[in-house]
Symmetry: C2
Subunit: 315 residues, 2 copies
């Protein structure tokens, strides 16, 4: 898999942003370690998802590209597929729940995607995607359970390690496990002594349970503020990769997530969505005791105004 | 003066952050130019003010350092003097209005400064500072009207030009004119063809009027959201420098300032205070027509939660 990440990095050259690595004296003093934030909130579409989507779509053959791609997402993956398709001249169709936010839908359509609504109370997004792809012969680009998607996501940690050198610890948020497994594969190949820890909200701890027990656990519609981690379970591919490459999983409270978003806002002047703040939440709340040189993947910055206002008000 | 800026750059090495320059494809498309944001919101204490304060305090002689320094500010300059004093082992006293925000006061005290309150209805901050410095023989470090302060502020534009090369246009916010005059001096020396434009809120247009008429205008307590520009007038030194080095001044509406803060938040994932968004406001509102390669000084990111919530809610 690491070779696929290296190949993905070449494909993404000039397409994805090489996002900045930010540091903070205040953060270092507070947690007693030297912390490097890989800021994927500055990635195109505002999240790491662009890496995986572009890497996957760019590897389709000409016939597949001509037929177009389909995906299902109410969040960052939708915009990522839409933009990657636009850049590669591939028609994109995104299946979105009827209650998806108007802003996210508009952004997805703004990149040129066709949005198809479905009623989440009557069917799952996977069902409708399967149905539609059968009918129109679209290629499905899933949000995480796909080797080329995982390989794309792994390029963020690869860039981080290339820029800052060896790390003792690397923290990444975990939703469906695409980012976390890609991160862990890059870390284990570039910095074999680096401890890789996946972070989940307590309310959405399916991956932590799956990691610990070796059986796939499910949490449906977890009411966490970290909407990027509301995936019900790891994928077939990502479950295996997380078990193989990740050293530990930890969970954080909703309050810790909000505190992390506020810390990033007030102290580091970064707009980070709740899922993107999970690594910082783990350190600030003491769930993870950082040591030495610590990398943190800040996965994205797509937070709506109402959520940020609530977080700033709840101080 | 440019030699003083070059000397300031050396003094600031390893003390001030070399702040990142950020770009945005979306911004470039929207304004039809190639824009480079010099992000002083990522500077120590969250604003460019650290540059001038450190540069000024570090040049005091040993006797002056031993006696300590005094300043007056309810905002970023207070924290900048406090931190610079802390780093240089110089005792700092800050005169603050009784109604200064508790957060800013706590931050200033957190860096080790002694805060002295005054009643802004009974006296001006300049009066009390003069009174106190006479009594205790402190050296006053004013927020902008001081050559060493101006020289420090000019290092931000110098770094920007060194990093990105020639610019056709450079926008900087204007309060008391320290940042703007330092910026203009750096630009005229490093990039003689660069047009330097100072941006003010319409509600606080004293410097624009002074620039246009050649007479010093005053606007007391302007009710602008851009609190960094609520200075009543340019200083003696900065008025002269602004008239000599700056090409033009423009003003922006309160709505344009809020739109800029939202744009920076949603599209660029940057936390920027209203004063810091003035250059972006000028471009997005069409007050300035950018052309070619355009630099923008983002002066700071110290926005309180209530102000950001109001701005996000007013969309």
């Amino acid at each position: 898999m690491f070779k696929k990440i290296l190949a993905a990095q070449k494909r993404l050259q000039g397409q994805a942003n090489v996002t900045p690595v930010m540091t903070s004296r205040t953060l270092n003093e507070r947690v007693g370690a030297e912390v490097f934030l890989k800021c994927e909130n500055f990635q195109r579409v505002g999240a790491f998802k662009f890496r995986g989507a572009f890497n996957a779509i760019s590897q389709l053959n000409e016939a597949e590209k001509a037929r177009g791609v389909l995906s299902y997402s109410s969040g960052n993956h939708a915009q990522a597929v839409a933009l990657a398709g636009h850049l590669l001249g591939v028609k994109t169709t995104i299946v979105m729940p009827r209650d998806a936010s108007a802003i996210k839908r508009a952004a997805t359509e703004g990149y040129g995607a066709t949005v198809v609504e479905f009623d989440p109370e009557k069917m799952t997004r996977e069902d409708i995607a399967a149905q539609m792809s059968e009918k129109a012969d679209f290629t499905v680009i899933p949000p995480y359970d796909h080797e080329n998607v995982v390989a794309g996501q792994g390029t963020a940690a690869l860039e981080l390690l290339e820029e800052v050198g060896e790390l003792d610890m690397l923290l990444a948020p975990c939703g469906g496990g695409g980012l976390l497994s890609g991160t862990a594969i890059s870390a284990k190949n570039k910095a074999p002594n680096c401890t890789v820890i996946g972070i989940e909200p307590e309310l959405a701890d399916d991956a932590t349970k799956s990691f610990r027990t070796g059986r796939l656990h499910t949490v449906h519609n977890p009411p966490t503020i970290a909407d990027g981690t509301r995936t019900p379970y790891l994928g077939k591919i990502t479950f295996k990769l997380v078990r193989e490459y990740v050293d530990d999983m930890q969970t954080v409270s909703e309050d810790a997530i909000k505190e992390a978003v506020r810390f990033l806002f007030y102290t580091m002047k970064l707009v980070v969505e709740p899922s993107g703040g999970l690594g910082i939440a783990a350190m600030l709340s003491g769930v993870v005791k950082p040591k030495g040189r610590v990398g943190v993947i800040i996965s994205g910055g797509n937070i709506d105004g109402a959520t940020m206002r609530a977080i700033l008000a709840s101080d």
